[in-house]
Symmetry: C2
Subunit: 411 residues, 2 copies
C-alpha cells in the first residue's frame, strides 16, 4: 500500500503597500520582505500592491534561488499589483479583471486605475493540480458611508464565480489576498458560502499572531489611526482561504501573522500584516479527520445571495440616478454651447445681439460649456456600463437563488 | 447493460444584426427569427447582436413555450448583444468581458461600446454537464490594414483560456458565435489548437448550405458588397465548435446554413447566415467511431502561440507609440494652457504683454489647449491600459510555450 506522506504547503500573503513616490520607506521595506522570504522558504508567496515592475523584478532577483517560478499579473493603468513567487513550477496563468472597480473620476481613491483583478496560477505539486488565486478587492474608504459597497459585493460574487468555474479540475484550492472586507461582511459571507472555502484563521489548529488575526493594527506605524479608531484591536481584511476537492482534504495546521513591527526590525513590512499559513494536504483515507463529504447545500446561502441582490439593487439605484444627472448635465452643456454658437454667428453677421454680453465672460462660458459636455458625456457612458453590469450580476444571482431553492426543495 | 440512446442536440447560431435605428427591417426580421425558431425547436439557440433588450424580450415571449429557459448577457454601454434560448434548464451563467476591445474614440466602429464578451451557460442534460459558450469578437473593418488584429488575437487567446479553465468539470463543450475571423486566420487556429475544439463545418458528416459554409454571402442583400469583393463565394466567420470530454464523444451529424434570403421569404434573417448543427453525444464505448483518446499535444501549437506572441508585440509597438504621441500632446496642451494663464495674469496686472495677441484667437486657443489636454490624457490612460494588457497576454503566451516545449521534449 502506498504511504505517501501528507503534503505540507507553507503560504505567505502580504499587501506590500509599495506605491512609488507615495509609500514610506518603500525600497527598504521591499528589501526587508525579499530578505525575509529568501530565508523562510515559503512554498507560495502571494503579494498585493506591488505596483511597480521594478519592485517585482527586485524581488524576483532576490528570490531567484529560493523561488525559481514567479508571475506578475498586468492590468489597469498602474497594474493589478498582484504577483506570486513559487517553489513549484507554474504551468498556466489566467487573469480576471473585475467588471466594476470604482470610478475613474474618483482620482483621489485611485482604485479604478489599478485594474483590480483575481489572478489564477495552476501548479502541479506531486501530481496534484493546485489552483492558486491571488486577489485584491476595492478599498473601503468609509465604513459608515461606503459608496463602493455594491462594487465590492459584485467583486466578491465575481471572485466566487471565477473560483467555482475554474476549479472543477483542481484537487486543491488556495486563495489569498486583501479582500478589504471584515470577516462578517456580506461579501466575505457570500464568497465563503458560495464557494465552500475555509478561512484559515477560523479553522487553524494553532494560531500565533495579532489579536483576532487582525491584519490592520493600530500599533503599525503606517496604518491609518483614524480608520482604526472604532476597532481598538484592529481589523482582519487579509485572508488565506482553502479547500480540498476530489479526493483531497486540506487543513490548516498553523497560522501566524506579523504584529506591527517586523521581527528584529524597527519598521513593519507594510501597513498591512503578513498572514502565513501551513496547510496540510492529505489524500482521503490517509487523513486523520472525517472523510471529505459530498458538497452540501448551505440553506443560509439563499439568504446571503438575496442580501447581495439587494445590494446590487441599491447600487443600481445610485448608478441610475448618477447616469441621469450626468446625462442632464451633458444636455445642458450642449444647449449652452449651441446657444453661444448661435450668438457668435449673429455677432459675426453684424447683429447687435452678440455684443450685449461681455466678451470675456462669453468665452469663459463657452469654455465651461464644452468642458461640461465632454466630462458629463464620459461620466454618462461610464454609469451606463455600471448600470448594465449591476443588472447583469443581479440576474446571475437571481438564477443562482432559483437553482438553489429548487435543489433545496428536492433535497 | 444500460442502452441509453445517444443524445442529439440541435444548435442554432446567428448574428442577428439588430441595431436599433441602424439595421434595416429590424423588427420584421426579429419576428421572422422568432417564428422560425418557435417552429424548429432547436435545443439551443445562440444569438449575437441582440443589442436591444426589447428585442430580447420579444424573442423570449415568442419562444416561451418552445424554449422556456433563456439568458441575456449584459455588458458594455450598449450591451454584449449575446443571448441564449434553451429547451434545457440553465443552471448557472458567467460572463467574461475581453480585456481589450478596440478604442473608445473610434466611435464610427463602435466595438468598444459593445463590451464584447464570452458568455458561459451551464446546462445539465441527462446527467451530463454541458458548457455552452456564446461569443462575438471584434469586427474586422479592413482585411489589408487591420489595426484591430492584435485585439482580436488577444480575444481569441482569452476565449481559449476561458474555455480551457472553465471546462474541466464539463462533459460536453459547445461554442458558437461570430468570431470575425476566417477559418485559417491566426486567431481561429490559436483557438482551435489551444482548446482542441472541433469545427462543425470541417467535421460534419453531411452538409447542406452555402458554398464552403460561408456566413457572409454576396447574394445577401444586407451584406457589404465592397467587403466581399475579393471573396466571390463569401466568407465564413460564424462558427459552431464542439468537444467531448471525460467519457463523452461528440460528432456533428448534420450542418446547414441559410443561403441569403430566408426560406419562403423575400428578405434574409440578418446580414449574416444562420449556422445550424445537429450534434450527437455518445458515451465512450457506445460510440461507433474510435474511443476518445487522451489529450494529445499538437506540435504545431508552439508555432501558432509564437505567431500570436509576435502579433502581441506588433500591437504593443503600436500601442506604445500611440501612448507616446498622446502623452506628448497632453504635455503640449498643458504647456500652452500654462502659457496662456501666465499671459492672462500679466494682462490682468496691467502689463501690455497680454494685449499683443488678438483676444478672440487667445480664447479660442485656450479652449483648444484645454480640449487637447483633456482628450490626450484620456487617450494616454487608455493606451497605457492597452500596453499593460498586451504585455500581460504575451507573458501568458510565453509561459504556455515554455510548458508546451517541456511537455513535447519529455513526451
Amino acid at each position: 500500500m502506498e504511504t505517501k506522506p501528507a503534503l505540507q504547503l507553507r503560504v505567505f500573503n502580504l499587501n506590500c503597500w509599495a506605491i512609488r513616490y507615495a509609500s514610506k520607506l518603500r525600497e527598504e521595506r521591499i528589501k526587508m520582505i525579499g530578505d525575509f522570504l529568501s530565508q523562510e522558504h515559503y512554498d507560495l508567496v502571494l503579494l498585493q500592491e506591488i505596483w511597480s515592475e521594478r519592485d517585482y523584478f527586485r524581488l524576483k532577483e532576490r528570490l531567484s534561488s529560493s523561488h525559481p517560478f514567479s508571475h506578475l499579473f498586468k492590468s489597469g493603468v498602474i497594474g493589478s499589483g498582484l504577483c506570486a513567487f513559487s517553489r513549484y513550477a507554474i504551468l498556466d496563468t489566467f487573469l480576471y479583471c473585475y467588471s466594476l472597480n470604482g470610478y475613474p473620476y474618483m482620482i483621489q481613491h485611485g482604485d479604478w486605475f489599478c485594474g483590480k483583478s483575481v489572478g489564477l496560477l495552476i501548479l502541479n505539486i506531486r501530481d496534484m493540480v493546485c489552483n492558486v488565486y491571488v486577489t485584491h478587492l476595492h478599498a473601503e474608504y468609509s465604513r459608515e458611508k461606503d459608496r463602493y459597497l455594491p462594487h465590492r459585493v459584485l467583486q466578491a460574487w465575481e471572485l466566487g464565480q471565477f473560483i467555482r468555474h475554474t476549479s472543477k479540475g483542481a484537487d486543491v484550492l488556495i486563495i489569498a489576498g486583501d479582500m478589504n472586507m471584515h470577516p462578517g461582511d456580506l461579501g466575505m459571507r457570500l464568497l465563503r458560502e458560495w464557494t465552500g472555502l475555509h478561512d484559515a484563521f477560523v479553522e487553524t489548529e494553532r494560531f500565533e499572531g495579532s489579536q483576532d488575526g487582525c491584519t490592520l493594527l493600530p500599533n503599525n506605524c503606517y496604518s491609518s489611526q483614524k480608520e482604526l479608531e472604532p476597532f481598538p484591536h484592529g481589523i482582519r481584511i487579509d485572508y488565506i482561504l482553502y479547500k480540498g476537492l476530489s479526493k483531497f482534504r486540506v487543513r490548516c495546521k498553523y497560522l501566524t501573522t506579523t504584529k506591527g513591527t517586523a521581527p528584529g526590525k524597527t519598521i513593519p513590512y507594510s501597513d498591512h500584516e503578513a498572514v502565513m499559513a501551513t496547510l496540510v494536504v492529505e489524500k482521503q483515507g490517509q487523513a486523520e479527520g472525517p472523510p471529505v463529504k459530498a458538497e452540501e447545500l448551505n440553506p443560509q446561502l439563499v439568504d446571503t445571495v438575496n442580501e447581495a441582490r439587494t445590494e446590487m439593487r441599491v447600487g443600481l439605484h445610485t448608478a441610475e440616478s448618477q447616469r441621469y444627472s450626468s446625462g442632464r448635465m451633458a444636455v445642458l452643456g450642449l444647449l449652452l454651447l449651441l446657444l453661444q454658437g448661435g450668438m457668435s454667428l449673429l455677432s459675426f453677421l453684424g447683429s447687435e445681439v452678440g455684443h450685449t454680453f461681455p466678451k470675456f465672460s462669453f468665452y469663459v462660458l463657452a469654455f465651461l460649456a464644452f468642458a461640461v459636455l465632454l466630462v458629463s458625456t464620459i461620466v454618462y457612458v461610464f454609469h451606463t456600463i455600471e448600470v448594465r453590469l449591476l443588472q447583469g450580476t443581479e440576474a446571475q444571482m437571481r438564477l443562482a437563488v432559483q437553482v438553489l431553492q429548487e435543489k433545496l426543495s428536492c433535497g
